[in-house]
Amino acid sequence: VGTAAAMATDRKSIPILREPLDTLRTKKTSVDNSASHPVQLIQEEHNVNIAEGKMRMLAKIHGVHVPMRMKMDQTILSQHKRLHVPGMKPSFVGLETMLGMDETIEFEDYLNDPEFSEKQVDIHTEMEKSMFPKLRK
């Protein structure tokens, strides 16, 4: 979790290979981390940066165990049983309550809801992706 967070906040425009490139799944053949638009970067990184900042502040004030426990809880609550497929939506009730997102309405709640997207998705491929997410060496 620590390294994933560091990668999110250190996203630079220098195209360095950070994880093994899975060409067959993602169809990306070159390492190109640049976003199409500066606002895309803002959308992706802002919430993550704010959350990390809060964790660091809690660590300095209360001790390193507090963010550790919170991250542990969040990891447990981020697990989902339902597949992420148009028509079905994974439910994150516990995580939303913990993060306070159940009391807010954001762009992500009503724009481009993946539950209603019109892409054809092969359930078997999606199941494989969720069971074996990363390419191992």
């Binding site: 994933a4 976003a35 199409s36 638009h37 500066p38 606002v39 895309q40 803002i42 959308q43 802002h46 919430n47 993550v48 959350a51 969040q74 981020s78 989902h80 992420h84 939506k89 994974p90 994150f92 995580l95 009391e103 807010t104 309405i105 762009f107 992500e108 709640d109 009503y110 724009l111 481009n112 809801d113 993946p114």
Partner: protein, 273 residues
Amino acid sequence: MEVYQKSRGGFDFGLCDRNVKLAQEQGAKLPKTKKTGTTICGIVYKNGVVLGADTRATEGPIVCDKNCEKIHKISEKIWCCGAGTSADTENVTGLIGSQMELHRLATGKEPRVITALTRLKQRLFQYQGYVSAALVLGGVDSEGGHIYTVWPHGSTDRLPYATMGSGSLAAMAIFEAGYKDDLDEKEAIDLVDQAIQAGIWNDLGSGGNVDIMVLDKKAAPKMLRNYKKLNERTFHAPGLYKFPKGTTALAEEAKKRFASMTVEAVDSKMETE
């Protein structure tokens, strides 16, 4: 956490690359965004605040809306005038308005202007000026009447009177000459009206009619939409076109068929068994 974020929607930036390629290869130009050239202003008077705005929306050099509404509601007694890109001002005020309503329901207290201000400024700073919305936020709460200006990059000012938009200099000239502390309602409305008119006549980006919003500490909010209509069309074509009978040749007269039908009124009570 990443799994959760991926399961939500949001903006899709897929077309940005295509736009860049189109601009480079074919020299295609992006359509101009609808801006509100604008004169907006707000003033604090004895019992609250008065907000004013013009009603012209432009798309480049063309006036696309002669009577648009620039005074948006954030909550019952907190309203916001917006200058800049129309979509940005409307959506950012709508978003903050919905957040304020949720906040009011969660806390059970009357919303404060400073809360709306903080949320607006944090949201605009987060987007680093890409959300081009210059706002005059005004409202009354338990602390009294307030006027704030919010700039597109996220800075704010608290002032007794404020103007924003392309006609802000013309309106500010009127305010600077005529402002006094503790104006009464009629004087405040008059001053705002003159300031907006100064913007309408002297700035190309502003025009149309004058809209005024009066927010009183004790009374209900008063929206004086089109308080002054300054740009009415004097010559109009008279109503519907009237063509005399016989202008078009008739193929057949079907009058006979329908005359043989009779229409009866039926009592429409349903019978239940």
